[in-house]
């Protein structure tokens, strides 16, 4: 989010006649991976999803071989549901907001390379299974402990600055970009930035603070917060610009304070 003076966006002025999409294919989890390339006529305003839809309609490779349609996940197409995340020209991001013009401008070529995220089970082609991320949210109790859903009036007063800071963390769409980019994440050895940030989101809330320790406890295990290697890749790839490193730092601080005072309490 930027409030700086207005910059004109650089636009592709000299588009190629055709664009190639090189897609990593995989029939089923565990099957060998292979590549297929498809070619489309260039047109303006193409994003990766509309290109995939075009290919799906008529799945013929550049060699003229009829093949199976590539499979990928998509839903909102507005970069707010997180489902269509994949690795595009080497960078993990949502495919709905990956505009082909911008990709060509960045690469200087006429080929776009699509791969599934590598840190999650590859279901088929570009589709992966990120259910682990939702388990991580359970591990850190990423919710407010409500007494009940009855009418108990409004919640606590909250300064707008805190609300805005929490809002920034609350935009996490569990897309997995931070985990894909994190050198520490993999093989269940580290819970990763997304869950830490969500623990922080609730620990910042006046009601959430009451049970803060439960969330921190979820981050003390072998896969916990100490695994963060401070590579800071997560903030570079987060599409929602979550202040992930700040959340990790603040959570670490809370754990330290909790350890000191928790010990004193005993």
């Amino acid at each position: 989010m930027s409030t700086n003076a207005h910059h004109e966006k650089k636009r592709l002025t000299n588009p190629p006649a055709t664009i190639k999409f090189k897609i990593q294919r995989c029939e089923k989890e565990g099957s060998p991976k292979y590549w297929e390339t498809f070619e489309l006529q260039y047109r303006r305003n193409l994003n990766v999803i509309s290109a995939l839809m075009e290919i799906r309609k008529n799945p013929v490779t550049i060699e003229g071989k009829t093949t199976t349609p590539p499979v990928w996940d998509m839903s909102c197409l507005e970069q707010v549901c997180g489902i269509c995340t994949m690795v595009i020209d080497g960078t993990v991001r949502q495919s709905c907001s990956a505009l082909v013009d911008d990709l060509l401008l960045a690469s200087g070529g006429n080929t776009v390379i699509l791969e599934p995220m590598s840190k999650f089970p590859n279901v088929r082609d570009l589709k992966v299974d990120r259910s682990k991320m939702f388990d991580h949210l359970k591990q850190v109790n990423a919710w407010i402990e409500l007494d009940g859903t009855y009418d108990l009036g409004p919640g606590p007063h909250i300064p707008n600055e805190i609300a805005q800071d929490r809002y920034a963390l609350s935009r996490c769409m569990t897309c997995g970009c931070c985990l894909e980019a994190c050198p520490q994440y993999g093989d269940d050895n580290y819970i990763g930035p997304q869950a830490i940030a969500q623990a922080r989101l609730f620990n910042m809330h006046p009601t959430g603070k009451i049970t803060a320790e439960d969330r921190l406890n979820g981050l003390l295990g072998e896969d916990g917060i100490t695994n963060c290697g401070n590579a800071q890749n997560c903030i570079k790839v987060c599409p929602m610009n979550l202040p992930l490193t700040k959340a990790i730092y603040e959570t670490n601080r809370d754990i330290t304070i909790d350890a000191i005072f928790g010990w004193l309490k005993k």
Partner: protein, 596 residues
């Protein structure tokens, strides 16, 4: 029967489904939650502007009674009023509940929740969380339901698509059949009651503001099994969307709620960049025609005005686009209050709306129609309930902005106790053993097998495009009877051609081809309900506008359209509307609201 043994299946994990799941789990019962996507990715995330509730924190004399009046007036008197009243009465407590769940609502200096103005009202009644309120509310319910999941009360089936209901010999709903979208295996879910919360059918129109999951497929399946479908012809076309290749992206009404102005150059061929066109040479047509509400007239009116302006050649550059201008508002204010949606525009169009007026055009957005329900969210099929966009109650002929989120939660909160009450009292008999589940499974498997075996050569994605195009051309903003008839003929042709599709995917693992074929078939059925409902309604009301019948006709059409499935064509009947609370009066937004 012990109350803790109830099992209720909920189809759909957006706001309505999760709201119902939370209430049922809290009451101590078990939920099977079936969703095509992980519930956190449901279409509710796309709602942007806010959620309405008459809290009157701004000293404007707002009240639930005024919220009711605005809602039924904005809906052009087609909604049954008692449930609308209940929703408006419940709205403040719903908002406060979300506040307690930790939704980061935007705040005032005192640290209270802030409220903004939305279309069709003169009050600040809309609570908001930046410009991604739907996402924030959905996440709050997702978190609460995850908590119930850890306690074993909610079993999630994510990546499963409902194909049909399981009905017994007395047409009583005993569960449903769903398909695992990876393995394509079918499974029947026995349930004491089923709640549909599957959202809208925007994909029938090809491109819309809806997510790719919004096919209406499951509701159509219910309709084809005997559930009544009401007011299908009432489709909201949102005035401001961003045209795209793959979808029409929503530009929230909150842009106008925060002061955004709609205009076109007085000379459509004016080639100057917008900021160089002086005020006197801009036509703020909504403000000119509707001085009291200005840019915040209800959506149906704003949409028709924008459509008409473009049709008459006044669109920017003579094209189908008008300016939505925020550039007079300080950039930091815009960033704080609308950041999320401005980013969407910038991301997809490349211009920064803080400095350059947006170019927008109307896009299909919401279905006021849906499964018929009574005032307790019960459909006509015993044991089947509906909540949220997939039910027809609340919005009448046109939905007001920021009323969708509140209606979803209200629907879920009402359907849940209603379903529990039903499930407690229903005779269970021997339905689990008498074979109805097995026979429904076999029937659905046979349909899948037929689709897989078919080699007729028709391309299903092309059929979908053809359906979307003709529905958008003829069954959206302006409707003519001859074109509606032609549309139905085309739909019949598409249904015929559907019989000859080839799925073109030899790998059935996680294929999208079979699910899409099932959805397409269901969408075609529902498209006929929408089209023929529109054909039969010879008046103009809310979102339904016929130039040949430009007036609202209360005598003949202040009635709910009810469609029932038959193999030939939908069978239509009409029910009176309960207008016992607010006397119908003519809608007129050109001046302050007139009382009847």
């Amino acid at each position: 029967m012990a109350s803790n043994s109830l099992r209720i299946a909920i189809v759909g994990g957006g706001l309505a489904g999760l709201a119902a799941a939370m209430k049922i789990a809290e009451a101590g019962h078990e939920v099977d939650l079936i969703s095509v996507v992980p519930v956190k990715r449901s279409h509710s995330v796309c709602a942007q502007g806010g959620i309405n509730g008459a809290v009157n924190t701004k000293g404007e004399g707002d009240s639930p009674a005024k919220h009711l009046d605005d809602t039924v007036y904005g809906g052009d008197f087609l909604a049954n009023q008692p449930p609308v009243k209940r929703m408006c009465d419940m709205a403040p407590e719903i908002i406060y509940l979300f506040d307690r769940m930790g939704v980061p609502f935007s705040r005032t200096k005192e640290g209270l929740m802030d409220f903004r103005r939305f279309g069709g009202t003169l009050h600040h009644r809309t609570a908001f969380s930046g410009a991604s309120t739907g996402q924030q509310l959905l996440y709050a319910l997702d978190e609460q339901v995850r908590r119930w999941e850890t306690e074993g009360k909610v079993n999630k089936y994510e990546g499963w698509e409902m194909l049909s209901l399981v009905l017994d010999d007395h047409q009583v709903c005993r569960g449903l059949v769903a398909m695992n979208l990876q393995t394509l295996k079918l499974k029947s879910f026995a349930a004491d009651a089923v709640i549909m919360a599957t959202g809208g059918p925007g994909l029938i129109f090809g491109k819309s503001t809806n997510s790719m999951t919004c096919t209406g497929s499951a509701t159509s399946a219910c309709y084809q099994q005997g559930a009544r479908y009401a007011n299908g012809e009432f489709i909201q076309v949102h005035p401001t969307s961003i045209p795209g290749e793959d979808k029409l992206r929503l530009m929230s009404e909150s842009a106008r709620g925060e002061g955004g102005r709609v205009w076109v150059p007085r000379d459509p061929q004016d080639a100057r960049v917008p900021k160089e066109i002086p005020d006197a040479e801009r036509w703020y047509f909504l403000e000119e025609k509707y001085p009291a509400y200005g840019n915040l007239v209800p959506r149906d009116i704003a949409t028709r005005e924008i459509f008409q302006v473009c049709l008459e050649g006044h669109g920017v550059g003579g094209e189908n686009q008008v300016y939505l201008d925020l550039t007079h508002i300080p950039a930091d204010v815009l960033t704080e209050r609308l950041g999320a949606i401005l980013e969407i525009y910038e991301m997809f169009v490349g211009d920064d709306p803080r400095y350059v007026p947006m170019r927008i055009f109307p896009g299909v957005h919401y279905s006021m129609g849906g499964l018929w329900v009574d005032f307790e969210q019960r459909t006509n099929i015993p044991g089947l309930f509906a909540a949220g966009e997939c039910d027809y109650s609340i919005h009448g002929a046109n939905r007001l902005g920021a009323n969708s989120l509140v209606s979803c939660v209200y629907g879920g909160f009402t359907a849940a106790p209603s379903a529990i009450e039903y499930a407690r009292n229903v005779e269970r008999g021997s339905t689990e053993t008498n074979g109805i589940h097995d026979s429904e499974l076999k029937k659905q498997q046979a349909i899948n097998d037929g689709i897989i075996a078919n080699e007729g050569g028709e391309n299903q994605y092309k059929l979908h495009e053809e359906m979307g195009k003709i529905m958008t051309d003829n069954v959206t903003v302006v409707r003519y009877n001859d074109r509606l008839k032609a549309t139905d003929e085309k739909l019949l042709e598409l249904q015929d051609r559907f019989k000859n599709i080839s799925i073109n995917d030899s790998n059935l693992w996680a294929t999208q081809a079979v699910p899409h074929a099932r959805q397409l078939s269901n969408m075609l059925s529902l498209a006929r309900v929408i089209t023929l409902g529109a054909l039969n309604r010879n008046e103009s009301r809310g979102a339904h506008y016929k130039p040949d019948f430009p007036e609202r006709d209360d005598e003949n059409f202040m009635k709910t359209t009810v469609a029932e499935y038959s193999e030939e064509a939908p069978v239509f009947s009409y029910e009176p509307v309960d207008v016992s609370l607010v006397e119908p009066r003519k809608r007129d937004y050109s001046s302050g609201k007139k009382k009847g």
